[in-house]
Amino acid sequence: MTKFFKFLTNNNSYLLLVVYCGIAGLLIRFQDTLSLKSLQSRGTEFRASISGLVSDIGEYFSLKRENEKLTLQNASLLADAIAGANALRDSAKVAAIAELADRHPGEFLTARVVERRFNTTENFLLVNAGSKLGVRPDMPVLTPDGLAGRVVQVSENYAKVMPVIHSDFSVSVVSDSNMTHGLLRWDGKRERIARMDYVPLSSSIAKGEKLYTTDFSTFALRGIPVGEIIEVTPGKQFFNVAVRLAVDFSSLTHVMIAESSADPEKIELMYRPVTGEDVPQNETPE
Protein backbone atom coordinates (compact mmCIF):
# COMPACT_ATOMS: atom_id res chain seq x y z
CA MET A 1 0.00 0.00 0.00
CA THR A 2 2.87 2.31 0.89
CA LYS A 3 4.51 1.47 -2.38
CA PHE A 4 1.30 2.29 -4.25
CA PHE A 5 1.03 5.73 -2.63
CA LYS A 6 4.72 6.33 -3.27
CA PHE A 7 4.13 5.42 -6.91
CA LEU A 8 1.24 7.83 -7.11
CA THR A 9 3.27 10.64 -5.51
CA ASN A 10 6.17 10.10 -7.83
CA ASN A 11 4.04 9.83 -10.92
CA ASN A 12 1.24 12.25 -10.14
CA SER A 13 1.79 13.97 -13.49
CA TYR A 14 0.70 10.80 -15.25
CA LEU A 15 -2.22 10.47 -12.91
CA LEU A 16 -3.28 14.03 -13.66
CA LEU A 17 -2.87 13.33 -17.36
CA VAL A 18 -5.13 10.30 -17.05
CA VAL A 19 -7.73 12.35 -15.17
CA TYR A 20 -7.71 15.17 -17.71
CA CYS A 21 -7.71 12.79 -20.64
CA GLY A 22 -10.55 10.88 -19.02
CA ILE A 23 -12.58 14.06 -18.69
CA ALA A 24 -11.75 14.97 -22.29
CA GLY A 25 -12.79 11.46 -23.34
CA LEU A 26 -16.08 11.88 -21.51
CA LEU A 27 -16.60 15.23 -23.23
CA ILE A 28 -15.98 13.54 -26.59
CA ARG A 29 -18.27 10.66 -25.71
CA PHE A 30 -21.11 12.83 -24.47
CA GLN A 31 -20.64 15.86 -26.67
CA ASP A 32 -24.05 15.29 -28.25
CA THR A 33 -25.88 15.32 -24.93
CA LEU A 34 -28.24 18.12 -24.10
CA SER A 35 -26.17 19.70 -21.34
CA LEU A 36 -23.00 19.89 -23.43
CA LYS A 37 -24.92 21.16 -26.43
CA SER A 38 -26.47 23.80 -24.21
CA LEU A 39 -23.02 24.80 -22.97
CA GLN A 40 -21.72 25.00 -26.52
CA SER A 41 -24.75 26.98 -27.69
CA ARG A 42 -24.13 29.48 -24.89
CA GLY A 43 -20.54 29.67 -26.03
CA THR A 44 -21.74 30.28 -29.56
CA GLU A 45 -24.07 33.03 -28.33
CA PHE A 46 -21.22 34.62 -26.41
CA ARG A 47 -19.00 34.37 -29.47
CA ALA A 48 -21.74 35.88 -31.64
CA SER A 49 -22.22 38.77 -29.23
CA ILE A 50 -18.48 39.46 -29.18
CA SER A 51 -18.44 39.23 -32.98
CA GLY A 52 -21.31 41.71 -33.08
CA LEU A 53 -19.40 44.04 -30.79
CA VAL A 54 -16.24 43.77 -32.91
CA SER A 55 -18.31 44.31 -36.03
CA ASP A 56 -20.00 47.37 -34.46
CA ILE A 57 -16.62 48.85 -33.61
CA GLY A 58 -15.47 48.25 -37.18
CA GLU A 59 -18.63 49.83 -38.52
CA TYR A 60 -18.15 52.83 -36.26
CA PHE A 61 -14.75 53.49 -37.79
CA SER A 62 -16.12 53.06 -41.30
CA LEU A 63 -19.06 55.43 -40.65
CA LYS A 64 -17.32 58.40 -42.25
CA ARG A 65 -16.64 56.49 -45.44
CA GLU A 66 -20.21 55.12 -45.44
CA ASN A 67 -21.53 58.62 -44.89
CA GLU A 68 -19.56 60.00 -47.82
CA LYS A 69 -20.78 57.14 -49.99
CA LEU A 70 -24.40 57.76 -48.96
CA THR A 71 -24.02 61.48 -49.59
CA LEU A 72 -22.80 60.79 -53.11
CA GLN A 73 -25.66 58.37 -53.71
CA ASN A 74 -28.08 60.89 -52.30
CA ALA A 75 -26.76 63.61 -54.59
CA SER A 76 -27.03 61.30 -57.58
CA LEU A 77 -30.62 60.33 -56.67
CA LEU A 78 -31.53 63.97 -56.07
CA ALA A 79 -30.14 64.92 -59.49
CA ASP A 80 -32.19 62.12 -61.08
CA ALA A 81 -35.31 63.22 -59.21
CA ILE A 82 -34.84 66.85 -60.30
CA ALA A 83 -34.23 65.81 -63.90
CA GLY A 84 -37.33 63.60 -63.81
CA ALA A 85 -39.49 66.33 -62.30
CA ASN A 86 -38.20 68.84 -64.88
CA ALA A 87 -38.96 66.43 -67.69
CA LEU A 88 -42.50 65.92 -66.37
CA ARG A 89 -43.09 69.65 -65.97
CA ASP A 90 -41.63 70.44 -69.38
CA SER A 91 -43.61 67.71 -71.05
CA ALA A 92 -46.85 69.09 -69.59
CA LYS A 93 -46.06 72.61 -70.80
CA VAL A 94 -44.84 71.43 -74.19
CA ALA A 95 -48.00 69.35 -74.56
CA ALA A 96 -50.18 72.40 -73.83
CA ILE A 97 -48.22 74.54 -76.29
CA ALA A 98 -48.24 71.81 -78.93
CA GLU A 99 -52.00 71.43 -78.53
CA LEU A 100 -52.54 75.13 -79.11
CA ALA A 101 -50.09 75.18 -82.02
CA ASP A 102 -51.88 72.22 -83.59
CA ARG A 103 -55.16 74.10 -83.48
CA HIS A 104 -53.57 76.93 -85.45
CA PRO A 105 -51.20 75.24 -87.90
CA GLY A 106 -48.80 77.59 -89.60
CA GLU A 107 -49.56 80.43 -87.20
CA PHE A 108 -47.23 79.68 -84.32
CA LEU A 109 -43.62 78.76 -83.81
CA THR A 110 -42.77 77.03 -80.57
CA ALA A 111 -39.53 77.94 -78.83
CA ARG A 112 -37.75 77.17 -75.58
CA VAL A 113 -36.62 79.89 -73.20
CA VAL A 114 -32.84 79.53 -73.04
CA GLU A 115 -31.97 82.61 -71.02
CA ARG A 116 -33.89 84.98 -68.83
CA ARG A 117 -33.03 88.05 -66.86
CA PHE A 118 -35.47 89.63 -64.48
CA ASN A 119 -34.34 92.66 -62.54
CA THR A 120 -35.58 96.19 -61.96
CA THR A 121 -33.80 97.77 -64.93
CA GLU A 122 -33.97 95.30 -67.77
CA ASN A 123 -36.12 92.21 -68.07
CA PHE A 124 -35.80 90.04 -71.14
CA LEU A 125 -36.06 86.50 -72.38
CA LEU A 126 -33.94 84.73 -74.96
CA VAL A 127 -35.66 82.01 -76.97
CA ASN A 128 -34.08 79.47 -79.30
CA ALA A 129 -35.87 80.53 -82.48
CA GLY A 130 -34.37 83.14 -84.78
CA SER A 131 -34.48 84.55 -88.27
CA LYS A 132 -33.76 81.11 -89.76
CA LEU A 133 -37.18 80.02 -88.60
CA GLY A 134 -38.82 83.24 -89.78
CA VAL A 135 -38.86 85.16 -86.51
CA ARG A 136 -38.91 88.92 -86.98
CA PRO A 137 -38.97 91.86 -84.59
CA ASP A 138 -42.37 92.92 -83.27
CA MET A 139 -43.84 89.43 -83.41
CA PRO A 140 -46.01 88.73 -80.37
CA VAL A 141 -44.82 86.05 -77.97
CA LEU A 142 -47.41 84.13 -76.01
CA THR A 143 -48.18 81.02 -74.00
CA PRO A 144 -51.43 79.08 -73.71
CA ASP A 145 -52.17 81.34 -70.70
CA GLY A 146 -51.81 84.61 -72.59
CA LEU A 147 -49.49 87.31 -73.89
CA ALA A 148 -45.85 87.01 -72.77
CA GLY A 149 -44.13 89.80 -74.70
CA ARG A 150 -42.85 90.89 -78.07
CA VAL A 151 -39.77 90.11 -80.08
CA VAL A 152 -37.37 93.05 -80.07
CA GLN A 153 -34.14 91.66 -81.54
CA VAL A 154 -33.41 88.67 -83.73
CA SER A 155 -30.26 86.74 -84.58
CA GLU A 156 -30.02 83.69 -86.80
CA ASN A 157 -30.93 81.20 -84.12
CA TYR A 158 -32.19 83.25 -81.21
CA ALA A 159 -34.64 86.01 -80.50
CA LYS A 160 -34.68 88.53 -77.68
CA VAL A 161 -38.12 89.06 -76.20
CA MET A 162 -39.27 92.05 -74.22
CA PRO A 163 -41.74 90.58 -71.74
CA VAL A 164 -44.91 92.22 -70.53
CA ILE A 165 -43.11 92.84 -67.25
CA HIS A 166 -40.72 95.38 -68.78
CA SER A 167 -41.02 99.07 -67.94
CA ASP A 168 -40.97 100.03 -71.64
CA PHE A 169 -43.60 97.53 -72.65
CA SER A 170 -47.14 98.65 -73.36
CA VAL A 171 -50.03 97.06 -75.22
CA SER A 172 -53.52 98.18 -76.06
CA VAL A 173 -56.13 96.11 -74.25
CA VAL A 174 -59.87 95.83 -74.01
CA SER A 175 -62.07 94.38 -71.28
CA ASP A 176 -64.33 91.49 -72.21
CA SER A 177 -67.65 92.61 -70.67
CA ASN A 178 -67.75 96.38 -71.00
CA MET A 179 -65.38 96.67 -73.95
CA THR A 180 -63.46 99.37 -72.11
CA HIS A 181 -60.18 100.22 -73.81
CA GLY A 182 -56.93 101.14 -72.15
CA LEU A 183 -53.17 100.78 -72.25
CA LEU A 184 -51.53 98.06 -70.22
CA ARG A 185 -48.15 98.83 -68.59
CA TRP A 186 -46.03 97.23 -65.92
CA ASP A 187 -44.94 99.58 -63.14
CA GLY A 188 -42.01 97.44 -61.93
CA LYS A 189 -43.33 96.92 -58.41
CA ARG A 190 -44.76 93.43 -58.32
CA GLU A 191 -43.99 90.70 -60.83
CA ARG A 192 -47.49 89.61 -61.82
CA ILE A 193 -49.31 92.90 -61.29
CA ALA A 194 -49.59 95.52 -64.09
CA ARG A 195 -51.81 98.54 -64.46
CA MET A 196 -54.31 99.61 -67.10
CA ASP A 197 -53.98 103.29 -67.96
CA TYR A 198 -56.33 105.81 -69.56
CA VAL A 199 -59.57 104.24 -68.36
CA PRO A 200 -61.95 107.20 -68.08
CA LEU A 201 -64.07 107.63 -64.97
CA SER A 202 -67.12 107.50 -67.17
CA SER A 203 -66.52 103.84 -68.04
CA SER A 204 -68.20 101.04 -66.13
CA ILE A 205 -65.12 98.79 -65.82
CA ALA A 206 -65.29 96.31 -62.94
CA LYS A 207 -63.15 93.94 -60.94
CA GLY A 208 -62.94 90.41 -62.36
CA GLU A 209 -63.13 91.42 -66.03
CA LYS A 210 -60.66 89.78 -68.35
CA LEU A 211 -58.45 91.82 -70.67
CA TYR A 212 -57.49 90.96 -74.23
CA THR A 213 -55.33 92.60 -76.90
CA THR A 214 -57.08 94.79 -79.43
CA ASP A 215 -56.73 95.74 -83.05
CA PHE A 216 -55.18 98.99 -81.89
CA SER A 217 -51.95 97.19 -81.00
CA THR A 218 -48.98 97.76 -83.25
CA PHE A 219 -47.69 94.20 -82.83
CA ALA A 220 -50.22 91.90 -81.21
CA LEU A 221 -53.09 90.03 -82.76
CA ARG A 222 -56.54 90.79 -81.49
CA GLY A 223 -57.92 88.60 -78.71
CA ILE A 224 -54.82 87.36 -76.89
CA PRO A 225 -55.57 87.10 -73.15
CA VAL A 226 -53.47 89.52 -71.08
CA GLY A 227 -54.82 89.38 -67.56
CA GLU A 228 -57.67 89.96 -65.16
CA ILE A 229 -58.69 93.11 -63.33
CA ILE A 230 -58.22 92.68 -59.60
CA GLU A 231 -58.69 96.22 -58.32
CA VAL A 232 -60.40 99.39 -59.60
CA THR A 233 -60.02 102.69 -57.73
CA PRO A 234 -61.08 106.10 -59.03
CA GLY A 235 -58.35 108.73 -59.65
CA LYS A 236 -58.55 112.39 -60.70
CA GLN A 237 -59.36 111.85 -64.37
CA PHE A 238 -59.01 108.11 -64.85
CA PHE A 239 -59.50 104.91 -62.92
CA ASN A 240 -56.45 103.26 -61.34
CA VAL A 241 -56.85 99.70 -62.56
CA ALA A 242 -54.66 96.88 -61.25
CA VAL A 243 -54.35 93.83 -63.48
CA ARG A 244 -53.16 90.39 -62.58
CA LEU A 245 -51.17 89.15 -65.59
CA ALA A 246 -52.22 85.90 -67.21
CA VAL A 247 -48.68 84.58 -67.64
CA ASP A 248 -46.57 83.40 -64.72
CA PHE A 249 -43.09 84.48 -65.76
CA SER A 250 -41.42 82.68 -62.88
CA SER A 251 -42.17 79.29 -64.44
CA LEU A 252 -41.82 80.16 -68.10
CA THR A 253 -39.95 77.47 -70.05
CA HIS A 254 -41.59 77.35 -73.48
CA VAL A 255 -43.33 80.03 -75.56
CA MET A 256 -45.04 80.44 -78.89
CA ILE A 257 -44.23 83.14 -81.41
CA ALA A 258 -47.13 84.19 -83.58
CA GLU A 259 -46.07 84.31 -87.19
CA SER A 260 -48.75 86.77 -88.18
CA SER A 261 -48.66 90.12 -86.46
CA ALA A 262 -50.45 93.40 -87.05
CA ASP A 263 -50.99 94.45 -90.65
CA PRO A 264 -47.85 96.38 -91.79
CA GLU A 265 -50.01 98.60 -93.95
CA LYS A 266 -51.95 99.66 -90.89
CA ILE A 267 -48.74 100.36 -88.98
CA GLU A 268 -47.27 102.31 -91.85
CA LEU A 269 -50.38 104.40 -92.13
CA MET A 270 -50.51 105.02 -88.37
CA TYR A 271 -46.97 106.39 -88.24
CA ARG A 272 -47.11 108.37 -91.49
CA PRO A 273 -47.00 112.12 -90.68
CA VAL A 274 -50.03 114.11 -91.63
CA THR A 275 -49.19 116.84 -94.14
CA GLY A 276 -51.17 119.83 -95.37
CA GLU A 277 -52.18 117.99 -98.51
CA ASP A 278 -53.85 115.33 -96.47
CA VAL A 279 -56.12 117.78 -94.64
CA PRO A 280 -59.21 118.59 -96.68
CA GLN A 281 -59.82 122.27 -97.33
CA ASN A 282 -62.72 123.82 -95.46
CA GLU A 283 -65.57 124.63 -97.74
CA THR A 284 -66.27 128.31 -97.91
CA PRO A 285 -69.84 129.58 -98.49
CA GLU A 286 -70.23 130.98 -101.78
Partner: protein, 164 residues
Protein backbone atom coordinates in the same frame (compact mmCIF):
# COMPACT_ATOMS: atom_id res chain seq x y z
CA UNK B 1 1.96 32.78 -6.48
CA UNK B 2 -1.74 33.73 -6.35
CA UNK B 3 -0.99 36.87 -8.29
CA UNK B 4 0.80 34.88 -10.98
CA UNK B 5 -2.12 32.47 -11.22
CA UNK B 6 -4.62 35.30 -11.61
CA UNK B 7 -2.47 36.93 -14.27
CA UNK B 8 -2.21 33.64 -16.17
CA UNK B 9 -5.97 33.02 -15.98
CA UNK B 10 -6.72 36.53 -17.25
CA UNK B 11 -4.13 36.07 -19.96
CA UNK B 12 -5.66 32.74 -20.89
CA UNK B 13 -9.11 34.34 -21.29
CA UNK B 14 -7.73 37.19 -23.39
CA UNK B 15 -5.69 34.87 -25.59
CA UNK B 16 -8.70 32.55 -26.07
CA UNK B 17 -10.78 35.47 -27.34
CA UNK B 18 -7.90 36.73 -29.46
CA UNK B 19 -7.48 33.27 -30.97
CA UNK B 20 -11.17 33.01 -31.83
CA UNK B 21 -11.71 36.52 -33.17
CA UNK B 22 -8.39 37.50 -34.67
CA UNK B 23 -5.79 34.78 -35.14
CA UNK B 24 -8.20 32.17 -36.48
CA UNK B 25 -9.04 34.53 -39.36
CA UNK B 26 -5.50 34.35 -40.75
CA UNK B 27 -6.24 31.17 -42.66
CA UNK B 28 -3.47 30.12 -45.06
CA UNK B 29 -3.93 26.94 -47.08
CA UNK B 30 -6.71 25.83 -44.72
CA UNK B 31 -4.69 26.23 -41.50
CA UNK B 32 -4.05 28.98 -38.99
CA UNK B 33 -1.64 29.50 -36.07
CA UNK B 34 -2.58 28.70 -32.49
CA UNK B 35 -1.36 31.19 -29.90
CA UNK B 36 -2.87 29.12 -27.08
CA UNK B 37 -0.33 26.39 -27.78
CA UNK B 38 2.51 28.89 -27.36
CA UNK B 39 0.91 30.08 -24.11
CA UNK B 40 0.52 26.56 -22.72
CA UNK B 41 4.13 25.73 -23.60
CA UNK B 42 5.35 28.86 -21.89
CA UNK B 43 3.39 28.06 -18.71
CA UNK B 44 4.66 24.48 -18.74
CA UNK B 45 8.23 25.72 -19.17
CA UNK B 46 7.90 28.10 -16.27
CA UNK B 47 5.82 26.09 -13.82
CA UNK B 48 6.13 22.42 -14.72
CA UNK B 49 4.21 19.60 -16.28
CA UNK B 50 1.21 19.49 -13.95
CA UNK B 51 0.54 23.23 -14.25
CA UNK B 52 1.11 22.99 -18.00
CA UNK B 53 -1.44 20.22 -18.30
CA UNK B 54 -3.93 22.12 -16.14
CA UNK B 55 -3.62 25.28 -18.20
CA UNK B 56 -3.75 23.17 -21.35
CA UNK B 57 -6.94 21.55 -20.12
CA UNK B 58 -8.45 24.98 -19.30
CA UNK B 59 -7.33 26.42 -22.61
CA UNK B 60 -8.91 23.45 -24.41
CA UNK B 61 -12.18 23.95 -22.55
CA UNK B 62 -12.28 27.67 -23.32
CA UNK B 63 -11.34 27.12 -26.93
CA UNK B 64 -13.89 24.31 -27.27
CA UNK B 65 -16.73 26.31 -25.75
CA UNK B 66 -16.02 29.27 -28.03
CA UNK B 67 -15.14 27.37 -31.19
CA UNK B 68 -16.75 23.92 -30.94
CA UNK B 69 -15.32 20.36 -30.61
CA UNK B 70 -14.87 20.80 -26.89
CA UNK B 71 -13.72 17.21 -26.19
CA UNK B 72 -11.07 16.98 -28.91
CA UNK B 73 -9.72 20.46 -28.22
CA UNK B 74 -9.47 19.77 -24.49
CA UNK B 75 -7.66 16.51 -25.10
CA UNK B 76 -5.24 18.08 -27.59
CA UNK B 77 -4.36 21.00 -25.38
CA UNK B 78 -3.89 18.74 -22.32
CA UNK B 79 -1.46 16.62 -24.32
CA UNK B 80 0.34 19.78 -25.44
CA UNK B 81 0.76 20.85 -21.83
CA UNK B 82 1.98 17.37 -20.87
CA UNK B 83 4.55 17.25 -23.69
CA UNK B 84 5.78 20.80 -23.03
CA UNK B 85 6.21 19.86 -19.36
CA UNK B 86 9.25 17.78 -20.28
CA UNK B 87 11.03 21.04 -21.11
CA UNK B 88 10.33 22.61 -17.75
CA UNK B 89 13.00 25.11 -16.68
CA UNK B 90 13.07 25.32 -12.87
CA UNK B 91 13.51 28.75 -11.27
CA UNK B 92 16.90 27.78 -9.87
CA UNK B 93 18.08 26.54 -13.24
CA UNK B 94 21.53 27.59 -14.38
CA UNK B 95 20.67 27.13 -18.05
CA UNK B 96 21.98 29.78 -20.41
CA UNK B 97 19.65 32.01 -22.40
CA UNK B 98 20.45 30.00 -25.52
CA UNK B 99 19.50 26.76 -23.79
CA UNK B 100 16.28 28.31 -22.51
CA UNK B 101 15.43 29.54 -25.97
CA UNK B 102 16.07 26.09 -27.43
CA UNK B 103 13.95 24.49 -24.73
CA UNK B 104 11.12 26.87 -25.54
CA UNK B 105 11.30 26.23 -29.29
CA UNK B 106 11.51 22.47 -28.79
CA UNK B 107 8.53 22.63 -26.46
CA UNK B 108 6.48 24.55 -29.00
CA UNK B 109 7.54 22.22 -31.80
CA UNK B 110 6.71 18.98 -30.01
CA UNK B 111 3.55 20.31 -28.38
CA UNK B 112 2.28 21.57 -31.72
CA UNK B 113 3.06 18.29 -33.42
CA UNK B 114 1.32 16.19 -30.79
CA UNK B 115 -1.68 18.46 -30.20
CA UNK B 116 -2.30 19.15 -33.86
CA UNK B 117 -1.97 15.49 -34.76
CA UNK B 118 -4.88 14.68 -32.42
CA UNK B 119 -7.02 17.51 -33.76
CA UNK B 120 -6.19 16.76 -37.40
CA UNK B 121 -7.05 13.11 -36.98
CA UNK B 122 -10.42 14.05 -35.54
CA UNK B 123 -11.41 16.78 -38.01
CA UNK B 124 -10.52 16.41 -41.67
CA UNK B 125 -11.78 19.77 -42.93
CA UNK B 126 -9.79 19.56 -46.17
CA UNK B 127 -11.28 16.14 -47.04
CA UNK B 128 -7.85 14.74 -47.91
CA UNK B 129 -6.91 11.12 -47.26
CA UNK B 130 -6.40 10.85 -43.51
CA UNK B 131 -2.63 10.37 -43.49
CA UNK B 132 -2.02 13.18 -45.95
CA UNK B 133 -4.41 15.41 -44.11
CA UNK B 134 -2.70 14.81 -40.77
CA UNK B 135 0.77 15.34 -42.24
CA UNK B 136 -0.28 18.43 -44.15
CA UNK B 137 -2.21 20.00 -41.28
CA UNK B 138 0.35 19.17 -38.60
CA UNK B 139 3.23 20.50 -40.70
CA UNK B 140 1.47 23.70 -41.62
CA UNK B 141 0.13 24.52 -38.15
CA UNK B 142 3.45 23.63 -36.53
CA UNK B 143 5.23 25.96 -38.91
CA UNK B 144 2.81 28.78 -38.11
CA UNK B 145 3.16 28.12 -34.39
CA UNK B 146 6.94 28.22 -34.65
CA UNK B 147 6.70 31.61 -36.36
CA UNK B 148 4.44 32.86 -33.57
CA UNK B 149 6.81 31.37 -30.99
CA UNK B 150 9.81 33.17 -32.47
CA UNK B 151 7.93 36.46 -32.57
CA UNK B 152 6.60 36.01 -29.02
CA UNK B 153 10.02 35.06 -27.71
CA UNK B 154 11.76 38.01 -29.29
CA UNK B 155 9.08 40.50 -28.29
CA UNK B 156 7.95 39.40 -24.79
CA UNK B 157 9.10 36.04 -23.48
CA UNK B 158 12.86 36.55 -23.77
CA UNK B 159 12.92 39.04 -20.93
CA UNK B 160 10.84 36.81 -18.66
CA UNK B 161 12.71 33.58 -19.38
CA UNK B 162 16.25 34.98 -19.35
CA UNK B 163 15.91 37.30 -16.39
CA UNK B 164 14.50 34.63 -14.07
Amino acid sequence: MVKDTIVRIVLLCILSLLQQYAVSRFVVFGAFPDILTVFVVFVALRTGQKQGMTYGFAAGLASGVLGGDIGITTLAKTIEGFVAGYFHIPEDSHASSLQKRRMFYKGVLLASLSGRAIQAAAANVLALPLVWHVVYSVALVTFFNMVIAVLAYQLFLKKILVNN
